[in-house]
């Protein structure tokens, strides 16, 4: 990676009720790169993303986006930084009270001050780019299947054409065919926008497909980072156990949610 990384994390720590979840996370993500963070449930993958987005405040460490420090930044600076991000949530997190098209247009109207009409035109384009026609736009989220909700969530995440897109468990709960369709859409959208992508997932098929690099989070730290092509020869017992889904190995699954 050359030049200033798009995202740089250094010594990121976060604890909940005295229990450490992140314990010194260091990560660089280059411009236009797609990095997938893998790890078991409760290892702090979502917490890492939420810290970068400013939804959670880290206990210590630094988060830089385009060289700008976000930890301790003012509300205005944080708001400006957030305008660079798009996010696809695990359950899509569509607004129940709004139609599909208003969900997709939301960030354009509220965040970027576009007129309702212009935002709806863009929203229709984005829906088309994820394979949904305009008749879907008038439906409400509760009328959609899980796969369609993910597509709408993806259209909403890319509507403002962000520099950085986060994907939180993009294929969880989907059948293998729909999961592959979502993976293809993620790759297409990220490529078309030239965006930087950070994804978190348990799904190794998805991780291998959408990433340039993979990082594994365990015990609150990134224990292995490397190109996707090298993960099978990582030489790391934790990574080996995780990617092959073995019950036996150094990783002991925790029984309680963090």
């Amino acid at each position: 990676m050359t030049g200033t990384p798009k995202i740089r994390l250094r010594g990121l720590t976060k604890a909940f009720g005295g229990k450490p979840v992140l314990n010194g996370v260091d990560l660089d993500v280059g411009k236009g790169e797609s990095v997938v963070i893998i790890g078991g449930s409760g290892t702090g993958k979502s917490v890492t993303l939420k810290c970068i987005l400013g939804l959670l405040e880290p206990d210590s460490g630094s988060i830089e986006v385009d060289g700008q420090q976000l930890v301790g930044a003012s509300a205005d600076a944080l708001r400006r930084a957030r305008a660079k991000f798009g996010m696809l949530f695990q359950g899509a997190a569509l607004f129940d009270s709004l139609s599909v098209i208003d969900n997709v247009a939301f960030g354009l109207v509220q965040g970027h001050g576009q007129s309702q009409a212009a935002a709806r035109r863009i929203a229709l384009d984005k829906l088309a780019s994820v394979g949904l026609d305009k008749s879907v736009g008038e439906l409400f989220p509760s009328e959609l299947s899980g796969g369609m909700q993910k597509r709408v969530g993806l259209a909403r995440a890319i509507a403002t054409e962000p520099d950085i897109i986060f994907f939180d468990e993009p294929t969880t709960g989907l059948d293998p065919i729909m999961a592959d369709i979502i993976n293809d859409l993620i790759m297409k959208c990220v490529r078309d926008l030239g965006a930087t992508a950070v994804s978190i997932t348990h799904d190794m098929v998805s991780a291998r497909k959408i990433s340039d690099r993979i990082a594994m989070l365990y015990g609150g730290k990134l224990i292995w980072t490397g190109p996707t092509a090298q993960i099978d020869g990582s030489g790391n017992d934790y990574v080996e156990q995780f990617i092959h889904g073995r019950a036996e190995g150094p990783i002991k699954m925790q029984l309680r949610a963090s």
């Binding site: 939804l55 708001r79 957030r82 949530f89 997190a93 607004f95 970027h112 909403r156």
Partner: protein, 259 residues
Amino acid sequence: MNPLAYTGRGVIDLFAVIGRLSVFTAQAFSHAFRPPFYPRMVRRQLWEVGYRSLPVVGLTALFTGMVLALQSYTGFSRFSAGGESAIATIVVLSITRELGPVLAGLMIAGRVGASMAAELGTMRVTEQIDALATLSTNPYKYLITPRVVAGLITVPLLVVVADIIGVMGGYFIAVGVLGFNGSLYIRNTLGTLETHDVLSGLLKAAVFGVIVTVLGCYHGFNSGRGAQGVGSATTNAVVSASILILLSNYFLTQVLFAP
């Protein structure tokens, strides 16, 4: 645990909640004066909190006025015959000063406070509130402030309606059931009523409107995980708002009607 430590922990927790609630309330109001504004969200909440609460508040006021007239008559008839003027006075003062705002507040706590806590709690659990933040929208400004503003405006308006319907309920019983003179009843009602009686009730209503909406939003916004978390948030919103309405009503009455 040591009883002293247990008590101390309870006191610290209580003050922590009061502090968080104060900051939450201050944020809700401060966003009302700083752009961007969301008039569409305010209009929607005016409709939800105000218009859609009319039936429940109206029915409560109607039957309260009717019962009040009936019970006052039963009580007075033990000591003297008639008591027409006293019954009109009791009904109108009780409704405008106390029962109108308090009962409306309690009914709205059940209807609106619960619905706000459940809606925001579900939004929290399904990450919709986080999604708002990622779409460059301040959740306080978009979700909380319109609800609190709507409570502040509509609950006094609902109490005006409740006052009128409550007095009408008393009138129907007094004239229709007890056989009182209708014009005399109205004259006694209007002769007794002072501006201060109505305004004090409306001031109480505004305070109760803020209490209900702030607590509904606070508990929903800070809801725990899962269905149980949302359920607890809803229960806490209604119970805490009801208790705070009764508590604040006592202090407001003491200030507004100090002897």
